[in-house]
């Protein structure tokens, strides 16, 4: 099981690092939103892998909160950017 643990943590850590690279480099706000979303989901996966390997369900409620926060966060940023768009260009959905 320790081999599985090392391998799974390495894969997840690689994914999280790459997502962080995109958060740092991402030319636009939306790139960063996508990358943050992915990063949070990778963190949730990491918590689940820990809970599975240790057979320790203490962290599972945290995992639920993290995965829902990823959704709420990206939707609220998308709505915020969309609101700026409507005001700046003046072409609402009725146009």
């Amino acid at each position: 099981m320790s081999v599985v643990a090392a391998l799974a943590y390495a894969l997840l850590g690689g994914g999280a690092l790459l997502a962080l690279v995109r958060v740092a480099r991402g030319p636009s706000l939306l790139d960063r939103v996508v990358a943050t979303d992915t990063l949070l989901v990778v963190i949730a996966c990491g918590l689940a892998v820990y809970a599975a390997l240790e057979r320790d369900p203490t962290l599972v409620p945290v995992l639920v909160v993290v995965s829902l926060l990823a959704f709420v966060g990206s939707v609220s940023i998308a709505r915020y950017v969309g609101g700026m768009l409507l005001r700046s260009e003046g072409d609402g959905p009725a146009a």
């Binding site: 894969l11 690689g14 995109r22 939306l30 892998v49 599972v60 995992l63 639920v64 998308a78 969309g82």
Partner: protein, 125 residues
């Protein structure tokens, strides 16, 4: 009994590893793909399947605890919510002209997202 347990553990380990691998490819796609819309693809498909597999593996390992139901609930939430946030972000990206048009083979919206379709069915050319 121990045979059954070890078999379930092997299945769970395979699920966890495959899920982690898919999370890695999601990160890789985020870095390598050229524009926002392609990156959304990387952020939705492999990632959703990855979360499903990891949660399934964890639910197998935590079999018997009440927490395993919570893990399956997380997986179901991910299935429902990931397309919604992906759609919202990609719609904003398209409206704000964040699309690299030189990378498109076909663009049937023609850069006028407000007048989608028009009078005739939009796939008549």
């Amino acid at each position: 009994m121990t045979d059954l347990d070890s078999a379930a553990d092997v299945v769970a380990a395979v699920c966890l590893l495959l899920g982690a691998l898919l999370c890695l490819t999601a990160g890789l796609g985020l870095v390598r793909f050229p524009d926002v819309l392609s990156r959304m693809h990387a952020g939705t498909k492999p990632q959703v399947l990855g979360v499903l597999l990891v949660m399934l593996g964890a639910a197998i390992r935590l079999h018997g605890w009440s927490a395993s139901w919570m893990l399956l609930l997380v997986a179901a939430f991910q299935l429902v919510t990931a397309p919604v946030s992906a759609h919202m972000v990609s719609r904003i990206a398209h409206r704000r002209r964040h699309v690299r048009r030189d990378l498109l083979l076909v663009d049937e919206l023609g850069g006028e997202p407000a007048e989608l379709g028009g009078d005739e069915p939009a796939d008549a050319h």
